[in-house]
């Protein structure tokens, strides 16, 4: 597991779940932290066979800049025939996706095992 350098209030960890690659986010995603997350996502998009799970169970707060960063990640993955599944979204964060109707745009599961089955 590799952790990105600590800055702002978001930690980004790259891990695996079986054969799947997981981006585990810990902390708040806002205007201050989303640019670093975006840079990480842009690097991951360049990988071969870019299929990812983004584990949001450690994210208690997200604003529209975080949502936008995830939308961009999914769009870029789709252009490379990749995919992303969001896992473990906390209720408060999930309401953001519902209000913006992005809960229909993303594949969202409760657990990593469910994500792996997608």
């Amino acid at each position: 597991m590799a952790a990105s350098p600590q800055s702002s209030n978001l930690t980004i960890e790259l891990a695996t779940h079986g054969s799947l690659r997981v981006v585990r986010l810990l902390g708040e995603i806002d205007l201050g932290s989303s640019p670093r997350l975006r840079q990480q996502f842009l690097a991951l998009v360049e990988d071969k066979d870019p299929k990812y799970i983004v584990d949001l169970s450690g994210v208690p707060y997200m604003d529209s800049s975080g949502v936008g960063t995830l939308v961009e990640f999914k769009r870029k993955l789709e252009r490379r025939r990749g995919q992303v599944v969001l896992v473990g979204i906390q209720p408060r964060v999930r309401s953001l996706f519902e209000i913006t109707k992005l809960d229909k745009f993303f594949v969202i599961t409760a657990t990593l095992d469910e994500a792996a089955a997608q």
Binding site: S8, E28, D63, L96
Partner: protein
């Protein structure tokens, strides 16, 4: 007789300041009669408004002034709740163009104003004297916000 409590703070347009400010705002709001959902609605709406100021008003300059005032409303002639004013000296835009994007047009960005209007009872932008924008947001105590639907 009106009872009003004020929370006033001058902020720099620095995104790194936002997490601590959200905590300061929460610490003030918990002394008001909001439930947890409403409290989170207010914090998100304020965060989105400040994000818009930094991104669009100040073009990501991190050292520009933002004047924030929150006022608890609990008196005659107005419903109990909160009024929040956010004033900047950034670029003035056509007020009619301050709107959330069509939610069917899925792309990054364009959601901040949509979320503000979903979380608050009202949100009105004005061109401020001397430049910049003034945003006045209100939320009444009986406003649940769309996060609870």
């Amino acid at each position: 007789m009106k009872t009003r409590e004020l929370f006033q703070i001058d902020l720099p347009s620095n995104p790194e300041r936002l997490p601590a400010f959200r905590e300061e705002l929460r610490a003030w709001l918990v002394h008001q009669p909001w439930d947890e959902h409403q409290l989170c609605d207010i914090i998100l709406a304020v965060d989105e408004a400040l994000t818009n100021v930094i991104r669009h008003g100040y073009k990501n300059q991190s050292d520009q002034p933002i004047y924030f005032t929150a006022m608890a409303l609990n008196g005659d002639g107005e419903p109990p709740g909160i009024e929040i004013r956010i004033r900047d000296y950034g670029q003035q835009v056509d007020l009619s163009k301050i709107a959330g994007r069509d939610l069917g047009d899925i792309r990054p960005g364009g959601l901040g104003v949509h979320l503000i209007r979903a979380m608050m009872s009202s949100a009105d932008y004005f061109h401020a004297p001397g430049g910049g924008l003034l945003l006045i947001m209100r939320k009444s105590l009986n406003h649940t916000g769309r996060s609870q639907e």
